[in-house]
């Protein structure tokens, strides 16, 4: 009997742990009673806290809301779509003025977005898109253009090797296979360099957006390809891992092998200052300010463009030192 009771307790504990992963939207503003005090109320359903980039994204939204005098109801979906749908339904019940969210996945949003539409609450997508056929379900999409980021990386490469006709061997570290940033950054880059036959991508493998994999794959590249001129990494973490591999192979990153990276995290700027990365194409998570502007416009009934791009830059070694102190993530 005692054993049986203990087993039930253990099972309850397991259930408790698993269900504790879902969180109810919590009010972080001064009041939880809708817009009774005249303040605009924004319900924001975040993906989760899976990376430093995402944490910076969350922080930016929180700070911008406070600065703009907008009451923020924030929900963390822990990378699960059902949590996010639940959070959006709660926002609808609480009658917020506007809902913003970064969809965990692309599909399966029609029902809940229709509920929001019927309740007359405008929806703004941030950072990631949905593949819904009915475009009236959301007002605008604020986020980075990953294809453009790939193109920027390609443009830098073309400019760097302007005037030479020698072949340039490029190796590519792709992001997680099938993810939108990986697909688009690859496509954008290939699109720009295909115009010149001297550029040749000799190897392209996934590094899963992580430092450990980036290093492991780069180490294999260095052994199977004698003359690598350029490394193009789909994010900074993979580039930072690969730099270690290049150094261990007795070569100088940034000189013997030029390094192009995307994202713009602080560590990458440090590496750029040390001349180990040549160029970083920014993928900016700090979209809070732009989001608050859009939210105000949408609620006021003003027209907004269907697609708003986040302000992003391209940073080279010369600008790294100046930009480093201002990097927030």
């Amino acid at each position: 009997m005692a054993h049986r009771a203990l087993r039930i307790i253990a099972a309850a504990l397991v259930g408790g742990v698993l269900s504790a992963c879902t969180t109810e939207p919590a009010t972080t503003g001064t009041t939880g009673k809708g817009s009774s005090d005249g303040k605009l109320v924004l319900g924001f359903a975040q993906v989760g806290a899976e990376s430093g980039w995402r944490t910076a994204n969350t922080k930016s939204v929180r700070e911008a809301a406070e600065k703009a005098g907008i009451t923020l109801k924030f929900s963390d979906a822990q990378q699960k779509q059902e949590n996010q749908i639940k959070a959006i339904r709660t926002f609808i019940q609480q009658k917020v003025d506007v809902i913003a969210f970064s969809p965990v996945v692309e599909s399966g949003w029609d029902t809940v977005l229709k509920e929001a539409k019927n309740a007359g609450i405008p929806v703004i997508l941030t950072d990631r898109a949905v593949d819904s056929q009915d475009t009236s379900l959301y007002r605008t999409f604020l986020g980075s253009d990953f294809v453009k980021e790939g193109q920027e990386a390609g443009k830098w490469l073309v400019k760097e090797y302007e005037g030479t006709s020698e072949p340039v061997n490029v190796v590519e570290l792709q992001g997680t296979t099938g993810s939108a940033p990986a697909n688009d950054r690859k496509a954008g880059f290939a699109d720009v360099i295909k115009g010149d036959p001297k550029f040749k991508v000799v190897a392209s493998q996934t590094g899963d957006f992580t430092r450990a994999k980036g290093k492991e794959v780069m180490q294999a590249f260095l052994k199977s390809h004698e003359d690598i001129d350029v490394l193009y990494a789909h994010n900074d973490d993979m580039a930072l891992g690969a730099i270690q591999a290049i150094e261990e192979a007795g070569k100088k990153p940034g000189v013997d092998i030029k390094v192009i990276s995307v994202d713009g995290i602080k560590d990458a700027f440090v590496a750029m200052q040390e001349k180990k990365i040549n160029v970083v194409v920014e993928c900016n998570p700090l979209l809070g300010g732009q989001l608050m502007e859009l939210a105000k416009k949408v609620v006021a009934g003003e027209s907004v463009p269907r697609r708003v791009e986040v302000k992003e830059g391209v940073f080279t070694q010369d600008e790294a030192a100046a930009a480093l102190p201002g990097r927030q993530y």
Partner: protein
């Protein structure tokens, strides 16, 4: 119940000499697969096996395989013992992440990140917490009778959250040459991680094979009821194997984070539990518990790592990587299956009836002993 295994490491019957004896050795097929993978690489990349000295240490694809394989070998080592008791430990991937996060967080916040005492206390902290994780798993399994897959699932899910909590969702970078030694340093021209893994494998195999411990573990996994009746205290053994598994995972976590000088709570050791289980199975230890083979596990882990390196070297497109891996693993498992080999040799005999009958008959009869 495990079937009577007449191909054990120690007690091989001296029935047939020469080649047959060799193919009957339980390590033969994993070793053959590993050799085939390496030879396949040499055929496609001619200097694949070339090792040269670079910056005072050995440098080459083989060294890479050993270095990146070291964490997997360690995790699989602990997993082998757990599986031998008819259990499974799904929490090792999270333990890898927690250990790396704890050590890096400790070093990053220390006043003197490069000093040996700081690194030593970081290691002690990581290993200590891992031991506590192992104790919890062991307690759930041995004392509360929770099924191992459920008991360790708790920490597999929650543990990664704990790692993220420690790192605050960020990737923590450390610059400590002493810490870098564990996973990325070299000693006597060899990667330190490889030496460390080899030492731990040697100690584990000594302790399990030179004392009765290994046999006790096998008997608990093979037949819990019978071993209870002969007076083996299963609970203590169970707790012990989960602690060993967690500690092995912690050392692997230190290696992984040290190699890239950073801790990534989200991705460190992600899915390594599945690779480890695969390594154990490829190495010839059955998931049903009982007989285990540490040598087979080491070969299994090396096969998996060689496969990854092969994929990078050959340039298999990322979209087809998983299919390629799956095909190789299926082939490996089929080659290892006595039932499959028996069927294959029977078919071969049917198509070539004039083949010398004696040897084939012995083979078929012998192989049919296996399930």
């Amino acid at each position: 119940m495990t079937p009577p295994d007449d191909t054990g490491v120690g007690g091989r019957p001296a029935r047939a000499p020469g080649a047959r004896q060799l193919t009957e050795h339980r390590l033969f097929w994993p070793a053959a697969v590993l050799a085939a993978l390496l030879l396949g690489n040499v055929a496609l990349t001619h200097d694949f096996l070339a090792v040269r000295v670079q910056n005072g240490h050995l440098y080459g694809s083989l060294i890479d395989i050993l270095q990146f394989g070291a964490p997997l070998i360690l995790v699989s080592l602990g997993m082998t013992l757990v599986i031998a008791t008819r259990g499974i430990d799904l929490s090792v991937g999270s333990t890898v992440a927690i250990a790396g996060a704890l050590a890096c967080e400790h070093i990053a916040t220390a006043k003197d990140p490069g000093s040996l005492p700081t690194v030593m206390s970081a290691i002690a902290l990581a290993v200590g917490v891992a031991a506590a994780i192992g104790l919890l798993n062991g307690f759930l399994v041995a004392r509360l009778g929770v099924q191992p897959i459920v008991a360790t699932l708790v920490l597999m899910v929650a543990g990664r959250g704990v790692a993220q909590l420690i790192t605050d969702g960020q990737i923590i970078s450390v610059s400590s040459s002493a810490y870098k030694m564990i996973g990325g340093g070299y000693w006597l021209t060899l990667p330190f991680a490889v030496l460390l893994a080899a030492a731990l494998v040697a100690v584990t195999s000594l302790v399990t094979r030179r004392t009765a411990l290994g046999m006790l573990i096998e008997s608990v996994g093979g037949n819990p009821v019978a071993s209870r009746l002969v007076g083996i205290r299963a609970a203590g053994l169970l707790v012990m194997v989960y602690v060993v598994s967690a500690v092995c995972a912690a050392v692997a976590g230190l290696m992984i984070s040290s190699n890239v000088s950073s801790a990534d709570g989200n991705n460190a050791g992600l899915w390594i539990e599945l690779d480890a289980i695969l390594a154990v199975v490829i190495g010839g230890t059955a998931l049903t518990g009982g007989r285990f083979s540490l040598g087979g596990t080491v070969l299994g882990a090396l096969i998996i790592q060689t496969l990854s390196t092969t994929i990078y070297t050959l340039g298999v497109p990322p979209e087809t990587t998983l299919v390629f891996k799956a095909l190789v693993v299926i082939v490996v498992c089929l080659v290892q299956s006595p039932a499959f080999r028996a069927r294959l040799s029977r078919r071969r005999r049917a198509t070539a009836p004039d083949r010398a009958p004696a040897a084939g008959d012995v083979g078929a009869r012998q192989q049919e002993v296996h399930p």
